[in-house]
Each structure stands twice: as C-alpha cells, then as structure tokens.
C-alpha cells in the first residue's frame, strides 16, 4: 500500500503546483488497510485509489482535482483518533471517508462533529447514526437490519436455540447489542453468548462450549479472519448445526479461507457480491456491474461489499460537490437531502433523521456454494 500512498502524495504535489485556477479538494480517508480488518480496509483503499484516478483523469469535480490522503489505522481506534485530528485540524480536509470499522468510527464521531467535517463512515453499527450527528453519515447497511434478516431466516428453519459468538471490536460489540435486543422479539433464545479476542487464531475451545450447550445453530458476529476459523473449528469438533454469519462475512476471501467448512454458511449482504447473478432489470444492476468489472479487471481479486462502501461514499460526495461546488455547509445539506442515489449497497435516501439512507431491502440472504456466494434458496 505504501507505493499507493507515495503515488497519491506525488499526484497531490503535482496537482497542488499546477491547479491554481481550480484548487484541489482535499479528501481524507481513514481506513484499516492493514491489520485484522484488512479484508475491509484494503479493498476500500484500492477502490478509492481507482475512483480518484478516474475522476481526476476526466478533469476532476467541476474542475477541481481530488487530492486523496489515505491514512492506514491498522484497525486501531487510537490511530484513527490521531489521524482524524491531523486531517481535520492540520490538513483541513474537505471531508473524511471512513473509518472502516465501527469502533474506530465511534472513536472519531465527536471529532468530526466538533470540527464540522463531513464524515462518511464505511462501518456497520447502528450507533454511528443513532443518535444522529449532523456531520456524520454512514453508507454500510445497519447491523440491526442484518440481525433482523438472520432471525427471520432462523424462524423459517425452525431454529429457536442458538449459540452466539462475537469479537471484542466495535463491530462485534454493536452487533451483540442488536442481537441481544432483537432475539427475544423473534422468540430466539441465546443459550450461550461468548466474546473472543479480535486476534484469535483458534476457537476450538469456544466451539467446544457451544457443542456442550446443544445449540440448534451458531451465529457469529465479527469482521476478522476469526470468522473463518470459527466455522472450521466447529466442523472439526463435529458440530454440524447451521452456521449464520453477520454481513461482516461478505468478502469471498473469508469463504475461501474456510474452504470446505464454509459451504452452507448463511449471511446477509448487499447485492454487490452477487452482481453477476442479478436480474438485468434490477435497479442496481448497472452500477454494481460497472464497479465490479472495473475493480476485478484492475486488481485481479474478487469484489467485496467493503470496497463497494468506499464506492458509495466517494460517489455520494462527488455528486454532492457537483451540485453545489466545494462549499462544506452546502455539501453537507445536499448529502442529508439526497434521495434515490443508486449505490452498490442499495438505493440511498437520506434525511435529517436518517443518516444511513438504506432500508432492510438493501440486504439479501446469501449462502456459500462451491466456494462462491449465491443468493439463498437457489
């Protein structure tokens, strides 16, 4: 990634010296490019790199080139805070895209609000936009919707007693709250509720506990490689019950990492990961197809929902600037009132009360079949 950072810096310099007429718009990106959440941050950074080049190649936004500054947090909230300070106070960026994870976003929510800097988070937790902070938006679908979809499916399958695992990250904690809140409403009993460390590399002891608790299904909520390890370990100790994952599973790398053990895992995700299987008439078809083809051709890896979040955040920002020019207050207002924006995660309609703009239809239940993601029920 550092080559990319250098490139971005050089591009930034070149732009700064040549574009006196229409000054560059400096956009910060705080992403977990390395570390335990790199399956999120790395495709996000690559997507932004691709989009910025595209936009600048066609002359920028209303003549203003975009100057992207990517900061790699390694999924550390402490680093996210110091980068946010630096971007807001020293670099005075126009807006910040990211952070990749919920924990980091919550750590800098207050800073963005105080600094009156537009923050377009790529993370999932509902707490990011509830309560609403005027400058903080998020483009990833809410965790409460994900939990809702999973419980509906469990009910359909006649499951009422589950074992719940989550990682000790912002994403895991926020998901845990939603799961604990929504489970009773759906008549689901959480027989065992375990939190593991985000850097966990073996969860045999945990799944052994689940096996002893005689659960009908496993639900795991995390974004780290641990979610691949959980399913492997569960199958290895002889647990054969259905396994559900959160929308954090929506990078096919996770399924590949778990190999044969990933078959049949059920999880909610936005449609970008099954772009090739969407009906031609689907409203998102054109957008997700174009992004997927460009990304996969350029980076030779499968597209993920996370890279898609970066696409959504960046394009929402570009669209808003195109409408009113690089004016912070006006752009914020435009984003807040944006309706019907077709993105990779769904069709966004923001309002003063809803800074996420997506509804539960943004999710579709998927499963893993022969190492590929396919819609459930196919």
């Amino acid at each position: 990634m550092s080559a990319f950072r250098m490139l971005a810096a050089v591009a930034g310099l070149a732009v700064a010296s040549s574009a006196a007429a229409a000054g560059p718009i400096k956009v910060g990106a705080i992403l977990a490019v390395t570390g335990p959440a790199s399956f999120l941050g790395a495709p996000e950074a690559r997507t932004l790199e691709m989009l910025v080049q595209e936009v600048n190649a066609r002359g920028g936004v209303m003549g203003h080139p975009i100057d992207l500054v990517v900061k790699d947090t390694g999924a550390s909230s402490e680093k996210a805070i110091s980068f946010a300070r630096q971007l807001i106070e020293e670099d005075k960026v126009f807006a910040i895209i990211g952070p990749s994870t919920s924990g980091e976003t919550m750590a800098i929510k207050g800073l963005a609000e105080e600094g009156k800097t537009l923050l377009l988070s790529l993370a999932a937790a509902e707490v990011i936009v509830n309560p609403v902070a005027s400058h903080v938006f998020k483009v990833a679908p809410k965790d409460s919707f994900a939990a809702e979809m999973i419980f509906r499916q469990m009910k359909k399958m006649g499951i009422s007693r589950i074992g719940f695992l989550s990682s000790n990250t912002g994403f895991g904690k926020a998901g845990k709250e939603q799961v604990e809140r929504l489970a009773p409403e759906h008549g689901i009993q959480i027989a065992l509720n375990e939190v593991y460390d985000k850097a966990a590399t073996d969860l045999t002891a945990e799944v052994t506990k689940l096996k002893a608790a005689n659960v009908q299904a496993i639900l795991n909520w995390s974004i780290e490689p641990a979610q691949s390890i959980v399913i492997k370990n569960a199958r290895q100790v002889g647990l054969t019950v259905p396994i559900f994952q959160s929308h954090g599973f929506a990078n096919v790398q996770y399924a590949k990492a778990a190999g044969a053990a990933a078959e049949g895992v059920i999880f909610p995700a936005s449609r970008i990961v099954v772009a090739d299987q969407l009906a031609p008439s689907h409203p998102q078809k054109a957008v997700v197809d174009a992004y997927r083809k460009a990304y996969e051709a350029r980076f030779k890896e499968d597209v993920s929902t996370f890279g898609g979040h970066a696409w959504d955040a960046f394009m929402i920002l570009v669209k808003a600037i195109e409408q009113v020019g690089p004016d912070r207050a006006k752009v914020r207002a435009v984003v807040e009132n944006m309706k019907g924006f077709v993105g990779t995660a769904g069709v966004f309609s923001f309002s003063a009360a809803d800074h996420n703009g997506l509804d539960i239809d943004a999710f579709e239940l998927l499963t893993v079949k022969n190492g590929r993601f396919v819609p459930l029920g196919q």
Binding site: F39, K232, R235, G259, A260, A262
Partner: protein, 296 residues
C-alpha cells in the same frame, strides 16, 4: 463439565502449547549461544508460513515446506551475519534494540512483499471439515501433524545437543564462550548456526500450524510474546523446560475459556509472564543459582 469436554479442551490446549513450545525453544537456542533474546523469533515463524504458501503455488507441498524452512534458515544466517556477527561484546540493551529492529524490518518487508491479506497452506491430510474421533473427542488431523512435528523437533534437538560433536561444541560455546574459543571451537560460526537452527525450527512450526491458524505478515509479534513467556516460564536456556512450559501455557489458556470470557485468553499468558518475572525470574524449571550467573 464432562470428561469428553475436558479432553477436548486439552487437545486444543496441547496443539497450541506445542507451537508456543517450539517458539520458546527457538528463543533458547539463540539465548544459549549468545546470551540475547532474539525478539525476531516470531517473524521466523511468520516467514516459514508465508514462504511455504508462495512456494506451494509452483511445487508440491513437501517441497514447498522444505524450501520455506531452508529459505528462512538463510534469512536467520543473514540476520546474524549482517547485524550481530561484527559486534564485539555488545551490551544486552543494544542486542535487544537490534533484534526488535530486525523483527520490524522482517514484518514490514513481508507486508510489502505479500500485502496484508491472510493466507494458509492446505491441510496436510484431509480438508477443513475432516476430523478424527477418539472416544468423544474430535479434532482435525492437522492437530496430529502439529503434535508430531513438535515431538520430532524436540527429539532431533536432544539428539543433536546430546550426541553430536557439533551439538557439544554449541553447548560449550553456550556455557563459556571464551573457554570454548580457547579450545579451538569456532564460536562465531556456532552463533550463526544457532540463528540458522532456530530460524529453521520456527519456520517448520509456522508451516504445520498455518492451516489451523492462518498466517499473515503480522502474526510474529503475538507468537513472540507467547514464546517468550514460555521460555521464561521454563527457565531461560532450558529447552526441555520450554516444552513443558509451552504445553502448560497452552492448556491453561484453553481451560481458561471454561471459566473466563474468551476474550481474556491472552490475559492469562501475560499474567503468568508478569507473575513469573516478579516471583521466580529463573522460571519453574530453572535453578536460581544458575540464573544469578547470567547477565540477563
């Protein structure tokens, strides 16, 4: 808790513990030859796994592992020749700073070379879902590979240090370097050999454990802390002590899940490390007499 469940925890603990033990032994080999703690030991484990994953794309698995072990051993030699060999009686602090620097160098180098994504070798036998049932206990066949490999490494080392000339020379070099040099033992080359040896066994451990735990550029630091705990717990310089301590630590961590929230697993090993450093710095199996004579 039923007996089956207890045994299931034990198997998980032993698998993990044996990897800690191998990392701990790596610390000990270099400590014995040089009197320093090589904080880049975890990076050798990482390099073994990562190199094997890359090699495995072009050659069959056994060859890939052999290649990764050889290449990591080469890196170990290179580290010693470049950073350690030319120093004349360096202070302990200086050596620590150097090895930490080397570990950062190797980690960042791996990040540049392989990127941030997580990789793993295929399972040596079966695949992700195969499991072996012994009584009510079920585990992956890879667990047997890990335990077997650890056993082989320990057996090899005890033969090497107990029954070969080279092993004796290394032990002589460990107990008194100046006296060993006076006897005509090439102490400098033996220090290089100690790096080669500990890099090689670290790499081998990195390969066998990779299907279970995955590997990425950043796994070294965590393993180094566990291995260091084990080396201290077993008594610095005592390889058999490290094996026992490694298994104890692995089992304790695994059993801790039974009573404590899972996220506290790492706290268990850090608590043990601190307690040992405060109360019995010579380790469980080390002698107080001997540790008083050591510089560090």
């Amino acid at each position: 808790m039923s007996l089956d469940l207890l045994l299931q925890y034990l198997v998980a603990g032993l698998t993990y513990g044996s990897i800690y033990a191998v990392v701990g032994i790596g610390f000990n080999i270099i400590y014995n030859a040089t009197g320093i703690i090589n904080f880049a030991q975890g990076e050798f484990v990482m390099l073994g796994g990562m190199l094997a994953v890359s090699f495995q794309r072009v050659v069959p698995l056994p060859l890939a592992i052999a290649g990764a072990v050889a290449a990591t051993a080469g890196v170990g030699a290179l580290v010693e020749v470049t950073f350690i060999r030319w120093l004349w009686k360096p202070s302990v602090l200086r050596m620590i700073v150097i090895t930490i620097g080397v570990s950062i160098l190797l980690r960042e180098g791996a990040l540049l070379l392989w990127g941030e994504s997580v990789r793993s070798l295929p399972y040596f036998t079966g695949d992700e879902v195969s499991s072996i049932a012994v009584g009510g206990v079920r585990f992956s066949p890879q667990v047997l590979w890990v335990l077997g490999t650890t056993g082989l490494i320990v057996a090899f080392l005890s033969v090497f240090f107990g029954h070969t000339m080279l092993g004796w020379e290394m032990r002589a070099c460990a107990s008194n370097r100046d006296a060993a040099a006076l006897c005509g033992i090439p102490t400098r080359n033996l220090v290089t050999l100690s790096f080669v040896l500990s890099a090689a066994i670290g790499a081998l451990a990195g390969c066998v454990v990779s299907p279970i735990t995955y590997t990425s550029y950043a796994v070294g630091a965590g393993l180094a802390i566990k291995g260091f705990t084990v080396a201290i717990l077993g008594g610095l310089g005592n390889s058999m002590g490290a094996v026992a301590a490694g298994l104890v630590l692995g089992v304790l961590e695994s059993l801790s899940v039974w009573v404590l929230p899972t996220a506290y697993k790492d706290t268990v090993s850090l608590t043990i490390l601190l307690a040992i450093l405060f109360m019995r710095p010579s380790g469980l199996f080390g002698s107080r007499e001997a540790s008083r004579l050591k510089e560090f």
